[in-house]
């Protein structure tokens, strides 16, 4: 109905809504009906290169040649949709896709009368339900039908005509046998077809089929559709030779054998010859549908390459579904190597000039931007803030690369034109790193066009992308519409993603050097001179310098003062730092290790700022508090400025690690040796005891297992003890120790392995025993249960491993590598399946979780209705922190 709205005539086209899709089988008649003609010639082209009219490349099936017109519809390449042909098969063949169904149908129905092998009354009962209560039937169907079919298959005498039945055997892929008293007899496809024809519609329905959409005999093919040439185009090679599509090859094979078979039948050839050709036809039709059927040698190209036929086009990663439908390729995207830039904001991404000159944003010309856009057009496609295309109001595109005088084009610019200008500073872009495992794998950034050839990003956004700079590449997409940009900016901007929906905590935050810098700056011995304080605070835009704590002989500031200047006013907070030594009784703010952070009204009173305070992925951290209580803006300011300051303090301070960081004094080495000796003695005493059968057996364990557990315990205790000794004797200035304590890199375990002893190596959680009979290596006695023989490494990495220890360590190390490889592939597959299953779940306005068709999954999201990213580590409220916030820190002291 045309409606007039002002000047514009709006026409509402009649529209129909798709209610559903049904799938069925093509009947032979349907195949003939949709066909434009029978294809009978097993050759593609004449000598002169014109397609043979009755061949598989017939012009009646559509055209792929731009110089030719389709003989059916008269259209040319883009217009002609392609048309089906057909092949009349000389003898019927079984469709591989349906052999299982055919087998069931043959077994469940009478060989003589074709009825379902179920008593008449029972069939009638089910048919009645079908008719009178179709809703109930549709619910019961999936449960009842298999039961009925199973029962029918077991019945060996027809309840309708009394005929005795014989079992039908399916020999994969496509041969059927009948087990009779005299032996096995093959049933040929024409017999199968005849039997299936006899099944009445009524019984067929009871078996769960819809006779309107599929008759069982259609599963045995008598006519084969030949797909249009448009789905199997031939390729002309550079040499001028034509190369046909794999499907065309297969169709040619089928026609060739079919024609030979026809000839032989007409000539009245002996049955043996006919059967041989018939089997060959079955083979070609089978591989035409699926070239990976087990038990069938795959059809090959002359070169020996396996043909890609129908099923292969759809299946798997490279198939139509995963590759063409779920995985689409896009324009306005770029990919390159990434590198770090701590001077960018977390919301920014550095884009190389070369990329910026290729990616464009369409901008509508208005009276307000026309002058600016003219300038861009004049600058053209080769200079950075320029433009690549102009779209005229009539939709015609002008490529500025081929415009001689861009000034002229710029002059005709007027409102209504669209200029596709280069991406420039401030534009929105989506940035992504694979594997895209969670929401934060694609985030919106604001573009900063920069020299060189890599994308650059702030280091704080590495954790959500799981990115590092050892050659990682990332993708960039430029939204093209106002809506897309608005959506990206409000929902996907990096700062919107600081709090992870995975758990209540910030996923974006400090790592490595940031944490180290903060630790060093907050250390109680750190003092700074005026110049240093000014340099640090000015880079955060802070211009008021606090009063120095020491005035004479020189003005000096503490590091904590500098950090306090960065914290928001009104912040009250306490936490145990990463460097906490887990003292038996925590003295809180009196902690001798300064490991208890106290922030009172935005003032860092005590404590070392380390991983627990500013680290990425640390819930209930100082940074988490700032984001939750002072908002996203404060959080993103903190990341952009405070963390940059920490990093720069690390630069100012300087930090390098050497082998000396792991050097232990003589007495420490002695002590470690003693501890290990003691453990070794304990182990040998255990073994003695075991041999004398005096060992007390642990519950649910054999004696051997008991021994293993006890030895394991002794040795792992030994390593812990050794670790403690090492930590005790390591110089407090040891850089490695500082890194481990602050949580910036490495752990105490790494340290003890380097300085003291590497410890027990395991494979599958057990001490190593594999390789030789009753021993791991031929260097040991059979049945040696001692520590060394079973993979305990006494040496430290610093000292170096003995050849045997090295070998054991390699065994343990390899298991780790194999594990991660297996785990990633397994969890990747699981993730795919979970996403497929859960992708349409949504929270309705009434708070319920529903599927796409509005089925209820949960009455309240997560049963409590809490958004995990707004929660406190999963909990809706954090009472302790709330009290602390209200009463101030002093109340807790």
């Amino acid at each position: 109905m045309p409606q007039v709205k002002g000047e514009v005539k709006v026409i509402f086209a009649p529209s129909k809504k798709i209610k559903g899709i049904t799938f069925g089988l093509l009947s032979p008649d349907a195949i003939r009906k949709m066909s434009v003609g029978s294809i009978i010639t097993p050759d593609t082209y004449e000598e002169d290169g014109t397609p043979i009219d009755t061949g598989p490349m017939s012009l009646r099936l559509g055209t792929i040649d731009p110089t030719q017109k389709c003989k059916t519809c008269g259209n040319r390449v883009g217009q002609c949709p392609g048309h089906f042909g057909h092949i009349e098969l000389a003898k019927p063949v079984v469709h591989v896709g349906f052999v299982k169904v055919i087998h069931q149908l043959l077994d469940a129905t009478c060989q003589k009368c074709g009825r379902l092998l179920i008593a008449e009354e029972e069939i009638a009962k089910m048919r009645q339900m079908m008719k009178e209560r179709p809703r109930l039937w549709s619910i019961l169907k999936p449960k009842v039908v298999p039961k009925v079919v199973k029962k029918a298959m077991k019945t060996m005498e027809c309840p309708h005509c009394g005929e005795e039945q014989s079992k039908v055997k399916l020999e994969r892929p496509t041969t059927f046998y009948e087990k009779t008293k005299t032996g096995e007899r093959r049933i040929t496809p024409d017999v199968i077809r005849a039997r299936l024809e006899k099944i009445p519609d009524e019984d067929y329905e009871v078996m769960g089929f819809n006779p309107k959409l599929s008759r069982p005999e259609w599963m045995v093919l008598t006519v084969l559709p030949v797909p249009p040439v448009t789905v199997r185009p031939s390729i002309t090679l550079e040499t001028g030779l034509r190369s046909e599509d794999d499907l065309t090859h297969k169709v040619v094979d089928i026609i060739r054998i079919n024609e030979r078979l026809k000839e032989q039948i007409d000539m009245g050839a002996p049955m043996a010859i006919i059967e041989e050709l018939w089997d060959l036809l079955q083979y070609h039709v089978t591989t035409y549908f699926d070239n990976e059927v087990s038990g069938v040698p795959p059809a090959r190209h002359r070169s020996g390459r396996v043909l890609r036929t129908l099923a292969q086009r759809l299946k798997g990663k490279e198939g139509r579904f995963r590759s063409s439908l779920s995985g689409k390729r896009v324009d306005f995207s770029a990919r390159t190597v990434i590198s770090p830039d701590p001077n960018l904001s977390i919301n920014e991404v550095g884009v190389p000039v070369d990329v910026a000159k290729t990616l464009t944003v369409p901008e509508k010309v208005t009276p307000w931007n026309i002058d600016e856009l003219r300038e861009l057009v004049i600058r053209g496609p080769y200079e950075h803030p320029g433009a690549n295309y102009i779209v005229r109001p009539d939709g015609r595109r002008i490529d500025l690369r081929y415009v001689k005088d861009r000034k002229v084009v710029a002059d005709v610019l007027a409102p209504g034109y669209i200029v596709e200008r280069h991406v420039r500073d401030g534009d929105v872009a989506l940035f992504n790193r694979q594997p895209s495992l969670h929401r934060m794998s694609i985030m919106a950034h604001k573009v900063r066009v920069l020299p060189y050839k890599t994308f650059r990003l702030n280091l704080c956004v590495c954790p959500p992308y799981n990115a590092d700079f050892d050659g990682d590449e990332m993708n960039l997409h430029v939204p093209q519409s106002e809506e897309a940009r608005a959506e990206a900016l409000t929902l996907m901007l990096v700062e919107q993603q600081i709090l992870s929906p995975r758990y209540g905590g910030p996923i974006i935050g400090g790592t490595q050097d940031y944490i180290l810098g903060a630790y060093l700056l907050s250390h109680k011995t750190t003092t700074l001179e005026r110049e240093e304080v000014e340099r640090l605070l000015f880079m955060c835009g802070k211009t008021d310098i606090p009063r120095p704590v020491i005035l004479k002989p020189k003005e000096l500031w503490t590091g904590k003062q500098v950090i306090s200047a960065l914290l928001p006013q009104g912040l009250n907070y306490t936490l145990k730092a990463s460097s906490c030594r887990k003292c038996r009784e925590c003295t809180k703010s009196e902690c001798p290790h300064d490991a208890y952070v106290v922030v009172s009204n935005g003032e860092l009173v005590a404590g070392l700022i380390d991983k627990k305070s500013i680290g990425a992925g640390e819930p209930e951290s100082l940074f988490h508090r700032i984001v939750k209580d002072f908002g996203i803006a404060a959080g993103s300011w903190f990341l952009d400025n405070a963390l940059k300051l920490f990093l720069n303090y690390a630069f100012m301070h300087g930090f390098s690690m050497s082998i000396d960081d792991k050097r232990l004094p003589e007495e420490a080495i002695k002590e470690i040796e003693d501890a290990l000796k003691k453990a070794e003695d304990k182990v040998s005493r255990l073994i003695e005891k075991y041999k004398r059968r005096e060992l007390e057996q642990l519950p649910v364990k054999t004696l051997e297992e008991t021994l293993e557990t006890m030895i394991h315990e002794v040795l792992s205790n030994a390593r812990d003890e050794v670790g403690k000794i090492a930590a005790k004797y390591l110089k407090p200035t040891s850089r490695a120790l500082i890194m481990a304590r602050s949580g910036s890199r490495g752990s105490i375990l790494n340290l003890t392995q380097m300085a003291a002893a590497v410890g027990q190596q395991t494979v599958r959680g057990e001490r190593i025993l594999r390789g030789y009979f009753e021993r791991a290596l031929p260097h040991f006695k059979k049945g040696d249960l001692g520590a060394i023989a079973r993979g305990f490494v006494y040496s430290s990495f610093k000292k170096g491993l003995s050849p045997l220890e090295f070998f054991f360590h390699a065994m343990g190390g390899r298991e780790g590598l194999v594990d991660t490889a297996v785990r990633t592939s397994q969890s990747g597959y699981m993730q795919r399946r979970l996403i497929n299953a859960l992708q349409d779940l949504h929270v309705e306005y009434d708070g319920t979780v529903r599927t796409a068709d509005d089925k209820v999954v949960q009455l309240k999201y997560g049963e409590d209705g809490v958004d995990p990213s707004k929660s406190d580590h999963g909990k809706a409220v954090n009472i302790a922190k709330t009290i602390e916030k209200v009463l101030g820190v002093a109340a807790l002291e």
């Binding site: 509005d854 089925k855 999954v857 949960q858 009455l859 049963e863 809490v866």
Partner: protein, 78 residues
């Protein structure tokens, strides 16, 4: 000898059959057909014990690690 029922087991949450009125109210509140609820078999051991018949709706009150107590409904199917 005391007879054992699975309803006494601590891992079996409380199942309650809804009355006709409660059923109507629930379906109206959620604006759904009964089959849009998750299903439970009439042959389910608990459903059998509380006498649930196909077409009924069962209310399940269970302990939840996130919410303390949570409520779910099941539509009884044959």
């Amino acid at each position: 000898m005391k007879k054992f029922t699975i309803l006494d087991h601590e891992l079996v949450p409380k199942h309650v059959l809804l009355t006709k009125e409660e059923k109507r109210e629930l379906l109206e509140r959620l604006a759904i057909r009964p089959d849009q609820l998750p299903w439970i078999r009439a042959s389910d051991p608990v459903a059998k014990l509380i006498g649930a018949k196909p077409g009924d709706i069962v209310k399940i009150i269970r302990k939840s690690p996130t919410a303390g107590e949570s409520i779910a409904y099941r539509f009884v199917v044959p």
